[in-house]
Symmetry: C2
Subunit: 206 residues, 2 copies
């Protein structure tokens, strides 16, 4: 398959959610105009994105919602479950353990670790907080495929290195620092403070 | 000032953090190469971004770290505090009330609201959860400038409309749905599940 850009993947995730909504309302077909309107994207962009991976609507009818959702789900790897491990049982880590949207899309949090003796052994939802000293062993035992870093900035790179040594190839990083990783490892940096700064920029300059 | 693109603003936020790190280590000047390396960006891009708003490094010396941080902070609106209100006192709302990175960058959470009688009146950190029925009054009384939506998808658009009616012009939305807002209102959609889907895409297609 051709390489799909980051921004296209992001739009596919949006279409996927819109299709879920439509299906739950019993809608069987959808036009590119409707998908565009739901996601605040131009309909030309929707058609371009979908044609890119060989999906074409039927003239006058549009796309079959279930079929399109299944196809996008396949591309995004959503037609299966993923085993997720979280390092850091602070506020963010805790919120993510019970994040309903993860579970709904097949991201199953199976492991949560911390280095704080006060946190190790406590329960978060159905999980018991494990000791990060056993990180490599636990990642392998629990067959974790995607790791989430929710530790303070000064510990984040070290934790990332340990995860990579343990065989992890995909990391979602919530620490407010850019993590370096070798080629072949995918790191997504998620920094809510950066998002809110786009708002303070807007308020300052509008 | 010229209009700055969303991706440039995001990079400015990254430079700002790198400069903070450098300053805390006592570093007084920095080259575009170093900033580029810290943030995983090309140094040509760094120079382009910084020249765009009239900041030029000194040949052979680079940029003055404190001076550059102050300038970027001014553009991003970080040299002041912002009053933030959160709607939704679930896991995400709770985590954000005590999110250290917000406080550090001047985003002061002054208000948290929920519609659940079980949550109203409970404490989260230094705040007491207020009733969303009083949303407009509370937003005005607390002089909230930026609102965060952390409610379920099916309530998000209604909450957004109420916030906008109450005079809010900048919204950070954590509900897994695209929020519609009239011209002049800025909405940033923050969806962690979409971020993790870029990772499942990567693992599926690599």
């Amino acid at each position: 398959m051709k390489k799909i850009s980051e921004s296209t993947i992001r739009r596919l995730s949006k279409y996927y959610r819109s299709l879920e909504q439509l299906i739950s309302r019993g809608v069987e077909t959808v036009s590119s105009d409707t998908l565009a309107e739901m996601d605040g994207i131009t309909s030309a962009q929707v058609r371009k994105d979908l044609s890119f991976f060989g999906t074409f609507g039927v003239r006058g009818l549009g796309y079959d919602t279930r079929d399109l959702k299944r196809q996008i789900g396949e591309i995004l790897g959503l037609n299966r479950t993923w085993r997720v491990g979280i390092v850091g049982a602070g506020n963010i880590g805790k919120a993510l353990v019970s994040y309903a949207e993860f579970k709904k899309q097949g991201f199953q949090v199976c492991l949560v670790m911390d280095s704080d003796p006060e946190k190790i052994g406590t329960r978060i939802g159905e999980l018991t907080v494990q000791d990060t000293r056993d990180l490599e062993k636990l990642i392998k035992k629990e067959k974790i495929e995607i790791a989430i870093i929710a530790v303070p900035a000064d510990a984040a790179q070290r934790v990332a290195n340990e995860l990579i040594d343990a065989g992890i190839k995909a990391i979602l990083n919530f620490a407010p620092i850019s993590i370096k990783a070798p080629h072949g490892i995918r790191v997504k940096n998620e920094n809510t403070a950066i998002e809110i700064e786009a708002l303070s920029y807007f308020l300052t300059n509008s």
